[in-house]
Each structure stands twice: as C-alpha cells, then as structure tokens.
C-alpha cells in the first residue's frame, strides 16, 4: 500500500527524518519497501501483513506512527447529525454476504471539481480526480479504510438497492468501461432491473456520478471478505475497495466512514440529506475479546524487564482498553478494528514490536539431547549420493511434476502417477511415476547445448497411488572415461552402469550373493539390454539401455543412453550387518583359469553357481575368489557360442599349503561338471 507523507502529516507530526520514520515503521512490522518522491511529497510503499487491515488507511497509519513515536494525533471530527426519518429502500437478499448496509440519499448536489487539497492527496497516490463526490468517496476510503460508493440516484430503477447474488449470464459494464459477465458466485448491488455494481469490487457505468447528477445515494457497507476475494479473482479485477474488503473492514467504520463522507460532500457539493437507512443484518461480535495477562508473563515470554506502566502506555497508545494493573494482571480489550488480537501471545507481540525486537535481549537456548533417531531414508540417500559422486556422477534435481506426454514418449504410458487437480500448465499434470522422463529431458537439454558426455543421478521421489517412494535414478551417455592414454574412445555401455551399482551395493554392505540381476524386458529399454535387480529376492529396480524408439521420440541423437532406477527404501533400508573378522590365510593360494565356449542360453551366473556348488563339495580346498576375466565373440568361436574365461582361486581348508595335485583334482572336477551339466566346451 502507498501512503503520502504530507497526507499523514494532516493527522500526526513525526518530527523525524523520512529515513528514520521509514526505519521505525519497518521495525514495528510495517515494512517500508520503497521510498519515492512526487513533487514536494514523499511516498512510502508499505508491505502490510494480512493480519493488519486496520493499517490500510491513513488514520490507521497515523495511529501506528503516533504510538511508535509517542506523538499526539489529530483525528478529524465528524458532525453529529439528526438523520431524517425517511428510509432509503434497501433490501438485503443474501444476508450472509452483507451484514450491514448504510444508504444515505443526498438531494440537490452540485457536481464540480474537488478542493485543491483532496486533488493533491489523491494525485500523489496516482489516482485520477473525477469530480467532488467521487473524489470524496476515494478520499474517505484512503482516510478511514471504509470503501464507499456513490450512485446517481435518479438512474437507479425504482430508486431501490438490492444486495443479491448475480444471475447466471447477467452482465454489467463497470466504470472502467469493460463489460463483465457474472455468475451466482458473485455478489452484486442491483436496482429493480439490473446489477448496478459488483459489490465491494467496482461500480457500474450506468449509475455512476457524472456532471449531470443531481441526487446521489451513498453506499457504505460490510461485505463478506471471502466472497469479495473470490469475486475479485473471478472477474479479474482488484480495486482499492476489494483489497480492503478481502482483508476485513472494521464493522464500526461502516458508520464512521459514511458520516465523514457525508460531511465532506455536504461541504463541497451542498444538497440535503433526505433519506437514510442503516440495515443491520447481524451485529458482529457484540462481546469483545478480553485478555488477561500479567507484566511478569510478558517479561518472561520476551525475556525483558519492562514495568506495568510502560506496557500500559504502549497498549493505550494503540487504542487498547487496559484496566487493573495494580494486582499485576491487566485486563485488556482490543479495539474493534484489531480482530487479529485474540490471546495473550498477541499482546506479547504488540508490546514487543512497539518496544522493537532489536531492543529486546538475546539469549542462547538450552538444547536437550533427543532420542528421536535421524531419518533413516535421509541417511541412506546421503550414503548413496556419496557413492555415486565418488564414481563421477553429477547430481541433478529435476521437477517432480511432469507432462503425461513425457511418459508416453518414454513408452511408460501405462504408468499412472498422481494427478494434480489444478495444474498451472500441462507440464504439471501429474507427479511422476518414474524418473525416466525427467532424466531424459535433462539429457536432451544438455545435448542441445553440446554437452555429450553425461553421467547424472538424482535421489528424489516417484509417486504412485500407493504413495511416494524414495528413488535413485541414474542416466549415462557418451564416452566411458576421460583418459587421453586410450586412443580408442568407447561409449559407456550396460556394464559401466551395472558396475556403478555393484560398487555402491558393496559399499552399502549388501553382499554379492544377496543381489541378483536377471534379464527382464521393459517397454522403455532396448531389446535384450533390459534387466531387473533383486535384493534378497525382492525386485528393487531396473538397469538397462534406453530403447531407440524412445530416444527417437525424445529427439535424442545419442544411441547409447543407459538408465537405472532403484527403489531406495527397498534396497537400502536394511541394516548393515556388523562385520565379523575372518582371519587372513598365511598360506599361498593357487589360481587356475578356465576358458569355456558357452551356448547362448547359459548365463555367466549359471556357470558361477555351478563352480561354487562343486567346490563347496570338496574336502581339501575352498574357493576364495571367483573372477570373471573375459568375454569373447568372433571368428575363433562357433556363431551361436561365446567364449567366457573365469579365474578361480583355491586355498586349503586347513592351515597348510595346498599341493598342486589337490588343486588340479578339484579344478578338473569343476570342469567336468560344467561340461556335463551345462554343455559347455573347454577351450
């Protein structure tokens, strides 16, 4: 909200520099965001918090200024009048929406331009002067905070005011010359025939006060804040009136604001009050809030040591009614315009902000040790992040809300996600059920900027009807390693990404034998390069190469894009077992390689299993290491076969050196089993 300093000085004399005044207001919770000058005047742009509608006018700001600076106030006097007996015709149709309506009919006004002073004040705040009556309604709104509207009485059909909901399809041309379509969610002021104003938002063109106007009907009312807010948003129109109604106008100012405007209108435009009606639907909050609090409580809460007299003085300057300080406890009744004051804490804040938070002492809290354990998912996520960072992956954070189209482009159209009721754009349609679309979009945007070697991971969430799941997503494309010594540059492939996971699982203490990776074709992964990962027999995720059709749909030019998605909770929530030390053998181990020609239907896993099982049956030797050495496909081997080499390390079961023939015996047995059971050929 903007205020003019010259206008403020009509009611209070700050007696300090502009900068100091801005600082004092800011430090009392009325933040001055910008200071600018217009002619000889200064404008403050204030950020008034939503709990303080009472400060959205000059008198409110004068009250605060006077209280902060301990200065007297000059409040304009309103004439006491005897109102005519005759009533205006006012009907309140929607009683919930309008709890009070004062209509005052003034006949025989002369419309001309306003007084110099009013014009100057309004123009400083950027308002265009119209005529004396309209200007006075605007002036009083700014002064008292009560929105007012003057109708040309002779243009009101039937001379009647009806407060009702708009009819479906009803239209109105507002005073800004725009035709607006209304609906029953919007409250209007109507005459017998049509809507003449959008209640609390803006008046209608047809009944506005012009140079030809003779008689006016002055409206001062209280409208429901929520209804006005919704109407204002619906018609896309925010006015000084709607802004104040939304935040809550003081029920009492409906009368005071009207009276002030009547004084000024009669003074400037002449005329005579011929009719008046004050329709009160419901007397709002007749029982006012009473709060009891002692000086000691206030001091304890803020950690200060002020006296009763000081507290009482502060509250009185803010127009609070304070009694009974002698017993140590005050009874406080806040003014009607302070609906935000409901409890003792609110009183604490009032005195604290006037004293100034910066003037209050500072202490250091005692923080007690807590038994609440740290969040386990967070720990797992941190650990996983460290492991992937250590392997050269950069961390990304992507939007968790995505476009359904992204799923379809990723061959994941069957996934549901969690639908958003009110997305701003299509890109926020759903909460993602997979990380693939997010990560592909990152690959695309980087590739478009010439960034081709990408190793990214994200530890985020995916969302399904069952809830949200902590997930690790990894995407990788481009060259395997940045090693200038390697002349042949190769693209990263499936095994690079699988290796990263094996390393991470190992560091997390998940032993190799608990992990199983097996072929499982996913729609979005390339044929034959798609696998599922199991830990303790439970599926925790997928690793594979993104299908070419998916890459085409995303317009990603790279051919080898690898993707993995692992459910963090499933994979890592398990407790890491306490490691028991196994003595390291002092006796030498013996390694033997085994080179096999293997048919397509036999996996490396099958062979390893068979080797392990066979050696387990041996009495003299144990297998201390089983290592995969090489894979060969080419001219040296039959077309439907591939060459696999494993290295087996044997050691004695007892504490002694193994004899060569013992190893040979065991090793030959292993070979025989492989040939017999798996049909492999020794090479």
């Amino acid at each position: 909200m903007k205020i003019s300093l010259n206008w403020l000085k009509d009611y209070v004399t700050p007696g300090i520099s502009v900068e100091k005044l801005a600082h004092r207001l800011t430090m009392a919770g009325l933040e001055v965001e910008k200071i600018s000058s217009v002619g000889d005047d200064t404008i403050f742009e204030l950020e008034i918090t939503p709990n303080r509608p009472d400060c959205l006018n000059m008198l409110g700001m004068a009250r605060e200024t006077a209280a902060i600076l301990k200065k007297p106030r000059r409040i304009p006097k309103v004439k006491k009048r005897v109102w005519p007996k005759q009533k205006c015709a006012i009907v309140i149709d929607d009683k919930k929406a309008c709890s009070r309506y004062i209509g005052t009919l003034i006949e025989g006004v002369s419309i001309k331009s306003s007084d110099e002073k009013i014009i100057k004040h309004l123009m400083t705040l950027g308002q265009r002067p119209v005529n004396n009556v309209v200007d006075i309604t605007n002036f009083c709104l700014m002064e008292t905070g009560q929105p007012l509207h003057a109708f040309d009485y002779d243009k009101l059909a039937g001379g009647k005011i009806i407060v009702r909901r708009a009819r479906k399809g009803e239209k109105i041309v507002t005073i800004d010359d725009v035709e607006r379509e209304l609906d029953p969610s919007i409250l209007v002021i109507a005459d017998e025939k049509r809507a003449v104003a959008i209640a609390g938002v803006m008046g209608g063109k047809a009944t506005e006060v012009t140079g030809a106007t003779k008689n006016i009907l002055l409206e001062s009312a209280y409208f429901d804040p929520v209804l006005i807010r919704r109407a204002s948003r619906k018609v896309g129109l925010s006015s000084d009136s709607s802004y104040r109604f939304e935040r809550g106008v003081d029920y009492r100012t409906v009368e005071g604001g009207a009276a002030r405007a009547v004084d000024l209108i009669l003074e400037s435009a002449g005329g005579k009050i011929t009719k008046r009606a004050d329709v009160i639907v419901a007397r709002k909050k007749s029982a006012r809030t009473r709060i009891t609090i002692s000086k000691d409580t206030i001091n304890a809460r803020i950690g200060a040591s002020l006296t009763s007299v000081q507290y009482k003085d502060i509250l009185k300057r803010l127009d609070f009614n304070v009694t009974g300080s002698k017993t140590g406890a005050f009874t406080i009744v806040p003014p009607s315009f302070r609906e935000d004051i409901k409890a003792a804490e609110d009183i604490v804040e009032e005195v604290a902000r006037i004293v100034g938070y910066d003037n209050l002492p500072l202490s250091f809290p005692l923080i007690k040790a807590s038994t609440i354990p740290p969040d386990p998912t967070r720990l797992a996520r941190r650990k996983m992040r460290e492991l992937f960072l250590a392997q050269g992956f950069d961390e990304v954070i992507t939007y968790t809300m995505i476009n359904r189209k992204g799923l379809e482009m990723s061959n994941q159209g069957d996934l549901q996600g969690v639908e958003i009721f009110n997305p701003l754009t299509q890109d926020q349609e759903i909460m993602r059920p997979s990380m693939l679309p997010s990560l592909l979009s990152v690959v695309l945007s980087n590739a478009n900027r010439g960034q081709k070697n990408i190793r990214f991971f994200e530890t985020g969430k995916i969302y399904t009807a069952k809830g949200e799941t902590d997930t690790l997503g990894v995407i990788m494309t481009g060259l395997r390693e940045d090693d200038w010594r390697c002349v042949k540059k190769e693209d990263a492939d499936y095994y690079d990404l699988k290796g990263a996971f094996e390393q991470a699982f190992d560091s997390l203490g998940i032993e190799k034998k608990r992990i199983r990776v097996q072929s499982q074709q996913e729609e979005f992964l390339a044929d034959g390069q798609s696998s599922a990962v199991f830990v303790d027999g439970k599926k925790v995720g997928v690793i594979g190469k993104v299908g070419e059709d998916v890459l085409d749909k995303w317009d990603i030019k790279q051919k080898n894009v690898l993707f993995a998605e692992i459910d963090m909770e499933g994979a890592y929530k398990q407790k890491k077992p306490v490691v028991r030390y196994k003595p390291v053998s002092e006796f030498p181990a013996i390694s033997r390689d085994i080179s096999l020609a293997v048919q397509a239907n036999i996996t490396a896993h099958d062979i390893e299993e068979a080797i392990r099982k066979t050696v387990e049956g041996e009495k003299q030797v144990v297998l201390t290491d089983l290592r995969f050495i090489e894979k060969y496909e080419g001219d040296q081997i039959a077309k439907d076969q591939r060459g696999l080499i494993f290295s087996l390390t044997y050691q004695s079961c007892q504490s002694r050196t193994l004899r060569d023939e013992e190893v040979t015996e065991a090793h030959e047995k292993v070979c025989d089993v492989l040939v017999r059971d798996l049909g492999v050929i020794r090479r």
Binding site: M27, A28, G29, E31, E33, K34, P50, R229, R233, E246, A300, R301, G303, D346, V348, E349, R353, Y357, D358, L360, L362, S363, F364, P365, I367, K368, S370, I372, P374, D375, T377, R378, R385, L389, Q391, G392, D394, E395, V396, I397, Y399, T400, V418, E419, I420, F421, N422, P423, L424, Q428, M431, S445, N446, R449, Q451, I454, F456, F457, E468, W484
Partner: protein, 345 residues
C-alpha cells in the same frame, strides 16, 4: 725416483676437464687411480725413499690422490646430470594426470547439507516428511483458517483423488515444510529440537524468481521455557555461521498464522555491506528467513496440554540462500541441470 707433482696435478686437471663422457672419464680414472695407475706407482716408489723423505713425499701423494678423486667425482655428477637432461625419454610432466572424476553434488543439496549441519552441531536432529499431505497438517493444525486465501487453488496444488484410506480427506502437495512439525509433535513429546529440509510446491508461474517447486528448511525447538530472546540468540548464531561473523542482522515484526510473536530476519547486504545496491533493492538489507514463537493453537492441534510448553520455529527458502550466496540470478538454473552449471559447485 721423484715425481713432478705440480705438473702431474695440472695434467690430471686438464684430462678430467676434457673428459666428455663417462667412458673417457673412466679411462682417466684408471690412468690415475687404477691398480696399475700413476698413484699406485707413486706409492710403490715411496717405499724406496729414506726415512726422512717418506713423510713429506707421502703427504704430497695423498694430497694429489685427494685432488684427483674429488675432481673425478664431481665430473661424474656433471656427466650423469647432463646425460639425464639429454635423454629423449623425459616425460612431459605438464600433461594432465588421469583420474576417476568425482561428481558434483547439486548446489541445493550442498546448501541444505550446510544449513542442516550447523543445526545438527547445535543438537538438532534432521527429520523428513511426505510431500503429499492432508489439509489438516498443511493448514488447519497450523492455525490457518478455513477460508484463508492460501488454501485456494491459486496458492496450493490439490490432488485429483482423495486419501485412499479416508475418502473424505482431500490431499495436496505441501506448500511448506511446516506439516512435518505437526507429524513429529503428534508422535513425540518435548523436549524437541529438529530441522526439516524438503521440497514444497506452489502454483506460481515460473520466472527468474518464482518456481512451482522449491525447497525449504523448517526448524522447531519446543521445551518448557523457550523465550523470544532464545529465538534471537539461536538465529544469530546460525546466520553468523552461515554468512560470516561480520554480518549485521535485524529482527522485524511480521505475521505468520502459526507463530506469535512472528518476525522476519534480515541480514546486511553482502554485496554493498548495507549501503544499498541493486541486489538488496537499495535497502541495505536482505530478507533471509521467517521465524516466531509457536502459536498455542498449534500445540493444541497436536494435543499438547495447554500452557505446558513454549517453542520457537523458523523457516527459510533454500533457493534464496543459494542464490544470495553464489550470485545466481535465476531460480530456473537450479532445475535446468546444465552440466556447466552443475560442475561449478
């Protein structure tokens, strides 16, 4: 037989100096120091001399041997050094080494970790909560009235489907991390001290300073005698640890439904030091976080006995802190994930 030591010494000096490689030098060495060399001959000759001549001659021979030995040693070093230098196998040590590259944690993660660790060191626990929340946890329990504008679809994302376990409960994407306060207080009794980092969502149109998804960190301390002065003390320590001991700060009254009294904390602008510049909008101050004393209605909502506890709460926007700290001018950069952005941190 006598020797002209002076001449021989001069000769040896010349020969050693002239030796250009290890092989020639070795020949010179043999000539003088070898088993059949000149010095051996000199010592042999010594035996033939009289008792009176022996010491003097012996001294002279020893001196000669010393000179030759030293000269040869020195020359040897020079020749070796030169040979190393001349070698064609010298590595170009200025070529970069080869290492497995270490990745970069996202700057927002780094900021969250830095902030959380300051609080962890002070005894706070780090807790998390779900992003999909109920209206009760996100609004009602936090003393936000039924008709409050922030509950509108303009300010909060709602889900299409209600809670599957209770069809009457509407679900939303949390618009703040505060609902986690409610979850933890419902489950645990004070004393409590924890911070909560996480994603939050608001339907803001995306521009340089707005994002519909962003990160917050929320903190709560609840005990029997927590005062407003504790809030000032705690956050003073925190902000000085985060931004440096030299920063100035101020607590400005503000409004939040879930705290009373409430405040916003400003720090002196790190660019202009408080003089006023474009970063701080000529104010000299930067708004950094919101805070306050926990509203009694919040304690009531989680079922704490009336008047038994007091508490302080605070919250800050992670993106804002990261933008200020690293001079990032556009919030969208965080979520674009350009390689060249990520690798700067």
């Amino acid at each position: 037989m006598t020797f002209d030591y002076e001449t021989e010494e001069q000769n040896s000096r010349r020969k050693i100096a002239e030796a250009a490689d290890a092989k020639t030098l070795e020949a010179v060495r043999v000539e003088y120091l070898g088993r059949k060399g000149m010095l051996a001959a000199m010592y042999a000759n010594l035996a033939t001399l009289s008792k009176e001549q022996k010491p003097k001659e012996g001294q002279r021979i020893n001196k000669f041997r010393g000179v030759v030995t030293q000269l040869i040693e020195e020359k040897k070093k020079t020749i070796t050094a030169k040979a190393r230098q001349d070698s064609q196998k010298q590595l170009d040590v200025t070529i970069p080494g080869v290492a497995r590259l270490v990745g970069h944690a996202h700057v927002l993660t780094q900021t969250i970790d830095e902030i959380c660790s300051i609080f962890e060191q002070m005894g706070f626990a780090v807790q998390e909560g779900p992003e999909i929340e109920t209206e009760f946890n996100n609004f009602t329990a936090l003393n936000i009235p039924e008709d409050h504008p922030s509950r509108d679809g303009f300010d909060t994302f709602y889900l299409k489907k209600p809670d599957p376990t209770d069809k009457k409960v509407n679900l939303l994407l949390r618009s703040q991390t505060s609902p986690v306060q409610i979850r933890i207080m419902k489950e645990h009794k004070p004393p409590l001290a924890f911070v909560v980092p996480g994603k939050v969502y608001r339907p803001d149109a995306v521009d340089a300073s707005h994002s519909f998804m962003f990160h917050q960190i929320e903190g709560l301390l609840v005990d029997k005698d927590v005062k407003f002065s504790d809030l000032k003390g705690l956050l003073t320590v925190f902000l000085k640890r985060l931004f440096g001991r030299e920063i100035k700060m101020r607590f400005r009254p503000h409004f939040f439904p879930f705290t009373e009294p409430s405040a916003e904390v400003d720090i002196s602008c790190y660019i202009c030091g408080g003089k006023g510049c474009s970063v701080c909008g000529r104010k000299g101050w930067l708004e950094i976080m919101g805070c306050g004393m926990v509203h009694p209605q919040v304690f009531k909502a989680v079922g704490y006995p009336k008047g038994k506890y007091t508490g302080l709460a605070f919250g800050l926007g992670v993106e804002r802190i990261a933008m200020l700290k690293h001079g990032i001018h556009d919030i969208r950069l965080f979520f674009e994930n350009d390689n060249r952005f990520l690798e700067q941190f």
